[in-house]
Symmetry: C2
Subunit: 309 residues, 2 copies
């Protein structure tokens, strides 16, 4: 299977990601090989509220990168909100013109069920795509939830997509999105208020950050392909300019975060294996009837786990 | 401190929740007492997309419950999205007319940093408010993120707030929100489309669920206080009618989920304590340089943890 992945076989890649999502023992054996064979790709993080035109922008990005002969992997991290209907990005992208291109692999990853395991899931998907020889990997999120923001900010270059339409952009900056972005993209720049928004944004960046850390601001009309060339050259420029060291730091942070997730999941598996459901339920029952509390029980179960070796 | 909490002292409650959020050793000693002293309150889960008027509805609910002499705790679970600006609910509620009422305790809990620890944080806040003698505890979320949905669906009665304005309500049902709700509240029912929406909703419920499990549908205009009496009697009716067993099942599920979070956090603490940062970083470095992989490292670190006892 690792052979097929290294050849870039889309079915093998898809199967590997599914294996990983289902967390089978086979997945771990495979992932050990994947980690041995992966080669660093450029990882772009793209985030923005729903409705900012992120998918169209990504579609344009894919077009440009393909024209330059790059192989591309897309990971759309999906918050599976009951209010968004889930799978927003992935489904839309999948229907796009690139879905038949063998060198474009698109995968939507649901965060459903991955309680806090987003780093692991995303890190593994990136590693698989790197082993498959992708040159660029686009990690796309809708920026809800802290984990999602964490994942995206660990990419080599982070694009934050805004529009002149949204009334609450200013609020967004308050919440610390300023530090996430390497490039701000004002999409739908043909809508009223785009220039005003750019001014506000630049003014805010002038206040908040020293020159060398200042993210660039680019205006696009993704539906017409306007400004996307400029956006891509800015990505290239950043990748060249960017301190190799900074990149290494971000990558290691992602790996560290992922490692913690892997440890957590392994311990969860140990707990399920070594502590019978009946014992666990008996403890829950005792907590419910106020005969003990979760902290005392946790201590007891952890000691028990250690004894079992 | 437990004494002051039991008296309902708001500062003591606030301090206890902060202790718990910061995860100090003192918090665990306190929480053991909290769990011994808590008495079951009615826990209402209230969820709905931003802009549905949830806060106004909660404000109305508080008014009615206070008029009946009930003591109330509100936990607003906050996704800390960089796009929402964070602390949406909590801040808004805090400014309301009930903030000076000693028998209304309002707390916004950020999910920031609580990677997957939402069950623990919410469970602890509920337990503290129960120890403080609250009769009703309202857990409010904006329904983004799977964890948030999980938390809310473990309440005794779950209200899902919709509006006729939102175009994508139908999608919401697809994603399984139907199973979460005990009561659907169509707020802003004076807006056009409210009746149509009610019909669609009822039609969908008729198709999907047997009569006895069917959630009720209630129309409100929260800003004018219309329909909120009916909503509250429906909550009371459900609480009386509701199988005590079902309630016990939901409560135990929350406790089980919380217990898992407590175990996870304790193990995280063990890892930080027993595995020096330098060792952890050295491993990350080796993964980065492809000399090993996260799975092998995780196995090694877990064995090391066990040996340390």
């Amino acid at each position: 299977m690792i052979k097929e992945i290294r050849r870039g076989n889309a079915r093998a890649i898809a199967k590997a990601i599914s294996l990983v999502e289902n967390d089978s023992a086979a997945a771990q054996r495979l992932m050990r090989q994947v980690f041995a064979w992966r080669k660093d790709a450029v990882v772009l993080g793209i985030t923005g509220a729903p409705g900012t035109g992120k998918s169209t922008l990504v579609d344009q990005l894919i077009g440009r990168l393909r024209a330059a002969g790059r192989k591309i992997g897309i990971v759309a991290v999906d918050p599976s909100s009951p209010f968004s209907g889930g799978a927003i990005l992935g489904d839309r992208i999948r229907m796009m013109r690139h879905s038949v291109d063998a060198d474009v692999f698109i995968r939507s990853m649901a965060t459903r069920g991955h309680l806090g395991g987003l780093a692991k899931a995303t890190g593994e998907a990136i590693a698989i795509l790197e082993a498959a020889g992708k040159d660029y990997i686009l990690v796309e999120t809708v920026g809800v939830g802290q984990d999602e923001v964490e994942v995206v900010k660990l990419a080599d270059v982070v694009l934050v997509v805004l529009t002149p339409d949204a009334g609450d952009e200013i609020q967004a900056f308050k919440a610390g999105i300023m530090e996430i972005a390497d490039i701000f993209v004002i999409n739908k720049a043909d809508h009223p208020g785009a220039d005003k928004m750019e001014r506000q944004l630049r003014a805010m960046l002038d206040l908040g950050l020293p020159d060398k850390d200042k993210p660039s601001v680019i205006k696009t009309v993704a539906t017409k392909g306007q400004g996307t060339d400029g956006m891509l050259s800015e990505v290239d420029r950043l990748m060249e300019k960017r301190d190799r060291r900074l990149q290494e730091i971000r990558r290691k942070r992602l790996l560290a975060w992922m490692l913690r997730d892997v440890i957590r999941e392994k311990i969860d598996q140990l707990i399920s294996r070594d502590i019978p459901d009946s014992v666990f339920e008996e403890y829950v029952d005792q907590i419910y009837h106020r005969r003990t509390d979760p902290y005392t029980v946790a201590d007891r179960l952890i000691s028990r786990l250690k004894e079992k070796g």
